[in-house]
Amino acid sequence: MFGVEQVSGNGAVTVKISGDIDLATADKVGDALASALGSSANVRVDLSGVTFLDSTGIRALVQAYRLASSKGGSLHVFGAKHWVAKVLDVTGVGPLLSAPAE
């Protein structure tokens, strides 16, 4: 089942998404990320519970990334597994959305 959960702490907000991100749910992802960016300039997106991702989800993530950048903040994703990571990779957005190396 699709779900979104928001956790705050250490000056950042983490949005944990679970289930399938597709045409039917991508708008909810976009709304959740825009809302998180309303409460914190720095947002982390936990994709470890995501079971499916397609380009509609990629578009929502990239739009949120641009929104964060336009506000001088940051947004990055982590925890993508298997084909979720593969879709990030084949669309070329993996490096853009990954956290900078520490």
Binding site: D20, D22, L23, A24, F52, D54, S55, T56, I58, R59, V62, H82, W83, K86, V87, D89, V90, T91, G92, V93
Partner: protein, 120 residues
């Protein structure tokens, strides 16, 4: 040939993904190929769903070859609607996950054909 027709609504995408994966599994495709085709069919359907009238149908025809499985996804296009640019995220996913992909338009009906190869 196997064909699945669903209403043109995003809520049916999960059903088409499941049908795609089930068929590919029955035909003996390995797990990684099944997942690639499942995502590619979803992409093709999502691409057409935003371009088709909401009361229309989306049809996915599966053509079973000796070494290949081709999914042809068709839907009528709204007047003035055009398929996305080849550089779009949707096409990048489709090209990255299929052995062959093409799109065409005949009499206002757009069809996206995706082929998965059993070996390759």
């Amino acid at each position: 040939m196997v064909a699945v027709t669903v209403p043109a609504d995003g809520g049916w995408l999960g059903i088409l993904r499941t049908a795609t994966a089930g068929l590919a599994a029955r035909l003996g495709f390995p797990g990684d190929k099944i997942e690639d085709l499942r995502i590619a069919v979803d992409e093709a359907c999502a691409m057409l769903l935003v371009l088709t009238p909401t009361d229309g149908d989306l049809t996915c025809r599966f053509e079973i070859g000796a070494e290949t499985l081709t999914a042809a996804v068709s839907a009528p296009l709204r007047e003035g609607a055009n398929l996305p640019d080849p550089s779009s995220f949707a096409w990048r996913v489709i090209r990255g996950l299929t052995a062959d992909a093409s799109a065409g338009q005949v009499n206002g009906v757009a069809t996206i054909r995706l082929t998965a190869a059993l070996h390759k």
